[in-house]
């Protein structure tokens, strides 16, 4: 294995020979900071900027389309601006159908869902990670096994369960069914295990019960993991599409934002201008979250990487 992946001794010797031939010029250029090395840095920047520009194109296109009158969104040749810049499209979005209801529903469901996930995951994570009880490890493995079941297997029968409960077209049905996945518990358990056990013991000696130890000692130490879990959970609720599509029948009352976005194409053709404005609006909260957390993005992914969407 290592002979395949890392340079073998023979290859190293060859490399060393190459280097002794190439080294002098390399040394000079890297110290002087100009010449090939500098050009390479410039080229690297150009490549990254080009990739970023291509990548941003759909977002830019959506934004400028959102500022045009609907009759001009498909002008030939394509223009950046229409005959006027209609910021009013963004205002009109909020008057179009129950769009404000969709936004409220999405915020409410994502916030409530995140709270449920946090309570369930931290308490269960504490029981698995820091309390000793018979059968703990077996129960934990069974917990993890449920992670393998894809959402698609569960959604069809879940709809029947919602009918049994009388939950079709309710907030409960948007909040609870997918708030008990084992992922959060797993994440919190892993984090709790990294906290020194002397802390619990000291707290116990001082007379604190399990709940106080959990609430006042352990949980404050796990703030960063809780934050990571909160952000990922909020985002996944905010973006959730398949389940709301199934459990919400009356879009007017319990539709969420992703469902509402599609509603700008109606019987009278698609209001592309409003659809783009609404899409931009729906991207704002999530984009703010990402920008606010950009410093923690890489570390957060490294912590919660097992999650995904």
């Amino acid at each position: 294995m290592s002979t395949e992946t890392l340079p073998t001794r023979g290859a190293r010797r060859r490399l060393r020979k190459d280097r002794s031939a190439a080294a002098p010029s390399n040394r000079v250029t890297s110290v002087a900071g100009d010449g090939p090395r500098r050009w390479r840095t410039v080229l690297a920047h150009l490549a990254v900027v080009a990739a970023a520009a291509m990548f941003a194109l759909p977002l830019v296109y959506a934004f400028f389309s959102a500022l045009k009158p609907n009759t001009e969104v498909f002008s030939m040749p394509p223009r950046l601006f229409g005959s006027e810049i209609r910021w009013s499209n963004f205002a009109e979005v909020f008057q179009y159908g129950p769009f404000t209801t969709y936004i409220f529903n999405s915020f409410f469901v994502a916030t409530a869902g995140t709270l449920v996930v946090l309570v369930v995951s931290t308490t269960a994570g504490y029981a698995f990670g820091r309390l000793r009880w018979p059968g703990r490890d077996i129960v934990f493995v069974l917990f993890l096994a449920t992670l393998m079941v894809p959402q698609e297997v569960v959604v069809v029968p879940m709809f029947i369960v919602m009918q049994w409960f009388g939950w079709v077209d309710t907030y409960q049905s948007l909040i609870f069914p997918f708030a008990f996945t084992a992922f959060g518990t797993f994440l919190m358990r892993q984090f709790f295990r990294g906290i020194p056990y002397e802390l619990d013991e000291a707290a116990r000696v001082d007379g604190a019960g399990a709940f106080r130890t959990f609430w006042q000692i352990i949980l404050p130490l796990a703030k960063s993991a809780v934050a990571v879990l909160a952000v990922f959970t909020f985002l996944s609720f905010w973006n959730s599409y398949l389940w709301p599509l199934i459990t919400v029948v009356d879009y007017q009352s319990h539709g969420t934002l992703p469902i509402g976005l599609a509603s700008f194409s109606g019987q009278h053709g698609t209001r592309w201008d409003l659809q783009m404005a609404a899409s931009i609006v729906s991207m704002i909260p999530t984009t703010i979250i990402v920008i606010a957390l950009q410093k923690h993005l890489v570390k957060g992914i490294a912590t919660a990487g097992l999650g995904g969407r």
């Binding site: 490399l15 990254v48 970023a52 894809p150 899409s279 920008i291 990487g305």
Partner: protein, 303 residues
Amino acid sequence: MLKTRSPHRSGSLRRTETRQALGFISPALLGLAVFTVVPVVLSIVMSLHHWPAFGERSFSGLGNYVDLFTKNPDFWPALRNTAVFALLYVPLNLVVALSLALALSPRIRGRGAFRVLFFIPVVTPIVANALVWKMMLQPQGLFNGVSTSVFGIELPNFLADRNWAMIMVVMMSVWQGMGYNMLIFSAALEQLPTSVIEAARIDGAQGARMIRSVVIPMLSPAIFFATVMTIITSLQVFAQPQLLTGGGPGNATMPLVQFIYNQGFQFQNLGLAAAAAWVLFVLIILITALQFKAQKRWVHYEH
């Protein structure tokens, strides 16, 4: 006296702790039982029944599974579409994500901002992303508009052409999902031990050679993780084709999950939908297990 008391005490302590643990874990256990165990069991039962949304249910044994593979005209195409999507999407996603993670090296100014940009579509509602692409891909949209008016070349109607539709579903999905893997790779790159990189550099490894022979083998655990997760999500693709093409033209872009959704909630055939979901589950398990088997050949763990 003391000797007899202390085991007794620790026994009662343990019992207290068990009781407390039960308290802490009961919300999770209850939720998992109601919202995972019950649906999974129910799903098995449903898949063995003729189960219309309204009307008589009847036991049908493996009838639904037999129907899927022998009678239903859309099931094999759905399987094929899912496979085609995965085969195109997974390698493209990984290559682009890894290239970008490598390109955003510490010497790039504002790499944090670039990372944010590439990550934005991952967290924005997939519906919004898909609608933006749908508009862009219209015959009068950005692509064909620019091509026709600037170069005088008329492009195919991307979303109405059998082959192009799938390609565009893949392109949009890569654009949407690639940033996640990019961050996974960035995180792994930042944890590479500098000593090894330095040693390789002293041995003369540079540029492409360094990346191929040193960096990629050392990233292989992250690449393995990203591959496994990306394949799983690619098998579950739903929103992108559903919104961009509605599964069409015909059924050219309808993947397995859309088949499940349509059978269950448009044709009201919940038993068949449940059976198809189990086929998907088995596929995911098989493919993931295969990868864990194959990882010994190429994943290089530090010990």
